[in-house]
Symmetry: C2
DNA sequence: CCATTAGATGAAGGAAGCTTCAGGTTGGGA
DNA sequence: TCCCAACCTGAAGCTTCCTTCATCTAATGG
């Protein structure tokens, strides 16, 4: 059986001696490297094991199957990002909305860019069924943190905090993806970050004013207008 | 040879009779369906052919290999989205920036939501090496269209048009992804769209004002602040 | 109505990949 | 030092998949 779609997610064995912990670490690192060098399609358990300097058998001692390996790598990365965001949200409790925006964007991008290659490699994993589930769960966790932070803001929000948080998340995700997939992420980093901060602030500022004034000031484009010649 | 990473991208044979065109169409449709029902991992050429109601041989008459099949499906979808955006951009030449924002967001989301399932299915393809290339190329094409539109705006932009266009694209991509991966895209559609319009307008409005006023009005968070406990 | 070309078929070759397991090695406690 | 559990190894079984090609059917045009 080559594919056991559902199976125990967790390592089948927890490392107790030092060398086995090192093996697990090496395997997870190798997973990312292979993902980057060979792509998701050509990632094989044998190749990962070879790159990690262990044998396939060792790999299977800690991960029940290939898919669990990929999930573990994704989970680890997402956990880092989310907990960075939670930290920021905790720190910014009671600030102004604009300060929050700045801190959130800065913190998020910094976490993502701490290891850009890992982020890029894992995009290929997160678009698979299981990966999507993990992403969704992590997204909800981050959402709760942001909403909680927004609730403590000095200025008053005139829109639903959940929606605002969702927009901020989606925007940050979109921009960071563009950044990571650009030719030279490191180079464009500061510029895009500053612009994203600018955007987030503009958005939150607008969210403190009376929305009605800004919602319909110019003729709405008809839904079918885009299709017309 | 199971994998011929690089190969002619195009159909090896162009359909001349009606029935073959129907086959190609059926195969492409089936590709999406299989992608959705089975996932990228379990998508096999045989399965696609079966679902399309043709034999594998027929599939291989029009697509040199599996990867070309997936690329073709992705390309077709992206072409639709991009040309919808180009149309919008052409139509909005000379409008105000805020009108442009509304039209662009509306047009983009409408195109994406015309066939949400296809969009969702193809996320799995676009994160592969070849898919990423196609995405990048299409992104650049859309970028040019947006920049051209912005250049004709009645109001004056105080930031680089390319950056503004990039931010709009990244934001739209992020929000549409969130939308498509939500539990019920159709349900959240209008609400998220309206909020995205609101955000885009707030951003562009801010881009017409003197940026300096908004760039540093509150204490900047230090880069390492996020990591501190 | 026949010849020629376009289109369709699906069994089979051959290459990989996933996962197991029987047997070897290492390390720590008694 | 000795023993046992933890750990590691990698060849091989079994499955699945991609792709080809010899053969058959349908359409087109003369």
């Amino acid at each position: 059986m080559q594919k056991r779609s559902q199976s125990t997610l967790e390592p089948r064995k927890s490392p107790v001696q030092a060398r086995s912990a090192a093996s697990v670490e090496a395997v997870l690192k190798a997973t990312i490297q292979v993902l980057l060098k060979a792509g998701r399609e050509r990632l094989t358990t044998t190749r990962v094991a070879a790159r990690a300097g262990v044998s396939v058998g060792t790999l299977y001692q800690y991960f029940p199957n290939k898919s669990a390996l990929l999930r573990a790598a994704l989970q680890r990365h997402m956990d880092e990002i989310v907990s960075a965001m939670e930290t920021v949200c905790r720190e910014q409790a009671g600030s102004s909305l604009e300060t929050m925006a700045t801190a959130l964007v800065t913190g998020f991008l910094e976490a993502k860019m701490r290891d850009p290659k890992t982020s890029v490699a894992l995009y290929a994993v997160s678009s698979d069924v299981d990966g999507a589930r993990i992403s969704r769960e992590m997204g909800m966790k981050a959402n709760r943190a942001i909403v909680a932070m927004l609730a403590t803001a000095k200025d008053e929000l005139t829109s639903e905090p959940q929606m605002v948080a969702a927009m901020l998340q989606a925007t940050m995700a979109g921009v960071s993806r563009r950044l990571l997939e650009s030719a030279s992420p490191e180079e464009d980093y500061e510029k895009l970050r500053d612009e994203l901060v600018f955007l987030a602030r503009a958005y939150l500022r607008a969210c403190t004013k009376d929305r009605a004034r800004y919602t319909q000031p110019s003729p709405h484009v008809s839904a079918s207008g885009a299709a017309a010649s």
